[in-house]
């Protein structure tokens, strides 16, 4: 099953069809406990998932902007529902012993990002939101559109831009 399908199923099960998507509620629904903690070390750390057969904890770097934290929670939920493993630590740049960055290469990271994008910015909701805006203002500048949608879905503008590109909208 594709990451997008996992995300869609959760949204359907919880009957979530409004932006912004309440990621914290989704985590709670899935039985994951959220824990916010600022990270002060070197490098970038967005979040982690820790679990055993009974419990799951999602750690979020609370030093990040709130939109980024929402993405981190969604990303960890992706690991929770799609991947096996007791521990996932997500760092923007993480180097394995072979010197390769695991972020860009690790298929599980890519899947978790795809999942997070669909969960926070469901394709149908984004398309509807774009339509609403462009029908009102056919000449809306792209940058304004991205900023508006980012605000509506409570994601970073960067994430929204990437999503719009992937959906073939811009």
């Amino acid at each position: 099953m594709k990451p997008e399908k996992y995300a869609k199923k959760i949204l359907d099960d919880l009957e979530l069809d409004n932006a912004p998507i309440p990621v914290e509620e989704i985590a709670a629904h899935l039985g994951a406990q959220l824990s916010y903690e600022p990270f002060q070390g070197k490098g970038e750390l967005s979040g982690m998932l820790l679990r055993d057969k009974d419990r799951a904890v999602i750690g979020v770097n609370s030093a990040h902007p709130s939109v980024r934290q929402r993405f981190s929670v969604a990303h960890e939920i992706g690991h929770l529902v799609m991947h096996e493993g007791a521990m996932f630590v997500d760092q923007t740049v993480r180097f394995n012993r072979d010197g390769k960055s695991s972020l860009a290469i690790d298929p599980q990271e890519i899947e978790a990002n795809q999942f997070a994008a669909e969960l926070l910015m469901p394709g149908n909701l984004v398309k509807a939101a774009v339509q609403k805006r462009t029908s009102k203002k056919p000449n809306i500048p792209q940058r304004v559109l991205i900023a508006d949608l980012a605000k509506e879905f409570q994601v970073s503008e960067q994430a929204m831009e990437f999503r719009l590109i992937n959906l073939g909208i811009i």
């Binding site: 824990s35 990270f39 679990r51 904890v57 007791a86 521990m87 630590v89």
Partner: protein
């Protein structure tokens, strides 16, 4: 400190004791085993969790059998409380190839949720710095 650290602290103590008995310096032992001297230092401090296959060359370099270096099972005692995360996770954490600051953050997250057995009563000790490196994935 996490329970697993007691095991490695005791292992390190045994290595140091036997090394001294053998009249070896850390450098000399390191040379025989084929590792850096700092590795021996960390092992003796209980700060490096060695893989099983490294036990054998260390024992052999000390002129001892591997069994002699194994801590008694009481040092490996862990407790699992119902509804709490498996302490195995803490062991997994120590094995990960992560920066010390990252490990500290993870411990902090775990402490906040107080779901690992012994996490609260051990909180003060957990803050000890963690200098382990070379982990196997």
């Amino acid at each position: 400190m996490p329970r697993v650290d007691r095991l490695y602290t005791e292992f390190g103590r045994l290595v140091r004791e036997m090394r001294k008995d053998a009249g070896l310096t850390q450098s000399a032992l390191a040379k025989r085993v084929g590792v850096a001297r700092t590795s021996i230092t960390n092992i003796e401090l209980g700060q490096q969790h060695i893989p099983l296959h490294v036990l054998y060359p260390i024992a052999s370099a000390l002129g001892a059998t591997p069994e002699k270096l194994l801590p008694k099972s009481e040092f490996a005692a862990t407790t699992t409380a119902i509804g709490k995360l498996d302490p195995q996770l803490m062991i997994e954490l120590n094995k990960q190839d992560l920066a010390a600051s990252t490990k500290r953050w993870i411990r902090q997250v775990i402490l906040k949720t107080s779901i690992v057995s012994g996490a609260n009563d051990e909180a003060g000790k957990i803050r000890q710095k963690n200098t382990r490196r070379s982990r196997i994935r």
